[in-house]
Symmetry: C2
Subunit: 221 residues, 2 copies
C-alpha cells in the first residue's frame, strides 16, 4: 500500500481528508500539531479520529515564535456572530502567521523520512477565503517549493482534495465515506461545548442546517 | 531601520550573511535552531556571533519527526576524507529531510509576526550542491510559496545572498565586513576541536588555504 501523511486537526475537513486518502488506496499516518491552539480539545478529537480510522498517529509539538493570533492567545477576543459576508472580508484575527506553510513543510520532511510520496491537507478556501494559506494558489506554489527543496527521488505530492469544496459538500463526502464526524471538533473557543458564535461554529452549523442533517456531534450518548 | 530575520547556524556562511544584512541597512534578529544536530557546539557559536553583532537572538527548538540523517544521529558515520568531486556527487548522508524548507517557513512566520519584510539565509550551492534545499531554484520557488501563503501586506522577501558564491568568496566578504569568523564553528562532528575529516572541515580548510589566510579560529587565545 502507498504511504501518505495526512494533516489531522480534529475538525471535519481533515477527518474527511483522512478518509479520502484511505479511499484512494493510501495507508495514512496522521500528523497532529500541538501548537498552543486555544481549542486544544481538537487534539483529543484528532487522536480519536485517527484511532477510529486505524491510522498511525504522530503528535508534533511546535510553538510559534512570537506569533500573535486570536487562535493562540486566550486573552484575545475571538470574532463572534459575524455574518458570512463579513467573515469573508480580509484576513481574520484567527490567522496564525504562515501556519500551513510550516505544517506542510514538516509534513513533507516527515514524508521524505519515511518514503511516503503523498501529503494530504484538508484546507479549503470556500469558508476560509480570508486565510492566504488555504487557497489553491498557495498549494500549487508550495508543491513546486517541495519538489525543489527535497531529494528528486522523494517525489512528494501535495494533495488538497477539498480546496474547491464548501462545507456542505465536505460533510456529504464524509457521510458517504463513513468518516466519524461525531468525533470532530470545530469550535475555536476552548470551552466544554461548542460556543455557537465563532466563525468555525457558524460555518459548521449552517452546513448541517442546509443539508437537513443533524450534526452527529450531538448524537453522542 | 528595516527589520530582518537571519537564520544563524554558527558556521561561516550564516555569520557572513548576518553581517551582509547589517551592511544592507537591516536590523537583524538571529534565528537559531536547536534541532538535535550532533554538532550542537554550533548553537553556542551562533549565540556568540549574534551577541558580537549586537543582534537580537531567538532560539527555536525543533525535533525532526523520525528524520534519519548522519547530522542528527551520533550512531551514523559521518562521511570522512572524501574528495571534493566525491562530495559533490549525489545527496550526502548529512542531508536532513526538508530542513531548509522548515527553517525558512518558521523564519517567514516569525518575520510576519514582527512585521519584518526580509528573511536571510546563508546557504550556498557551491559546496553544497548535493543538498537540494541549498540551490537557487529552491529559494525562488519558496519565495513564491511564501508570497502566496502569507498576508499580501506582509511582503516577505527571501534573500540568499551567498547562493552563487564559493567558500573562498564568502570568507573574503566576511573579512571585509569584519564578521567574527574566529567565533564560527563548521565541523559536523561534535568534538572538542574540528575533526579535519568531515565535508564541512574539508571545505573550510581548503578555502582558507587557497586564500593564503590563517583560519582565525585557531588564533583564539
Amino acid at each position: 500500500m502507498k504511504k501518505a501523511v495526512v494533516l489531522l486537526s480534529g475538525g471535519i475537513d481533515s477527518a474527511v481528508t483522512l478518509y479520502l486518502a484511505r479511499e484512494r488506496g493510501f495507508r495514512p499516518t496522521a500528523l497532529v500539531f500541538d501548537y498552543g491552539q486555544r481549542h486544544s480539545k481538537e487534539i483529543i478529537a484528532a487522536k480519536r479520529i485517527a484511532k477510529k480510522a486505524r491510522a498511525r498517529q504522530k503528535i508534533v509539538k511546535f510553538d510559534f515564535p512570537l506569533a500573535s493570533s486570536a487562535l493562540l492567545d486566550q486573552k484575545k477576543r475571538l470574532p463572534a456572530n459575524r455574518s458570512f459576508s463579513e467573515i469573508k472580508k480580509g484576513v481574520p484575527s484567527t490567522y496564525v502567521p504562515a501556519r500551513n506553510l510550516i505544517f506542510l513543510s514538516i509534513a513533507a520532511s516527515f514524508a521524505e523520512s519515511q518514503r511516503a510520496h503523498a501529503v494530504f491537507i484538508g484546507a479549503h478556501s470556500e469558508d476560509y477565503s480570508g486565510y492566504p494559506d488555504c487557497r489553491r494558489g498557495f498549494f500549487d506554489a508550495f508543491q513546486k517549493a517541495v519538489a525543489r527543496g527535497t531529494k528528486a527521488s522523494s517525489r512528494i505530492r501535495i494533495y488538497a482534495p477539498l480546496v474547491d469544496k464548501n462545507k456542505k459538500e465536505i460533510i456529504k463526502t464524509g457521510l458517504r465515506l463513513g468518516a466519524p464526524l461525531r468525533l470532530t471538533w470545530s469550535c475555536y473557543a476552548g470551552g466544554k461545548a461548542p460556543c455557537h458564535r465563532c466563525d468555525s461554529c457558524l460555518f459548521r452549523e449552517r452546513a448541517f442546517r442546509e443539508l437537513g442533517v443533524n450534526d452527529p456531534y450531538y448524537e453522542k450518548s
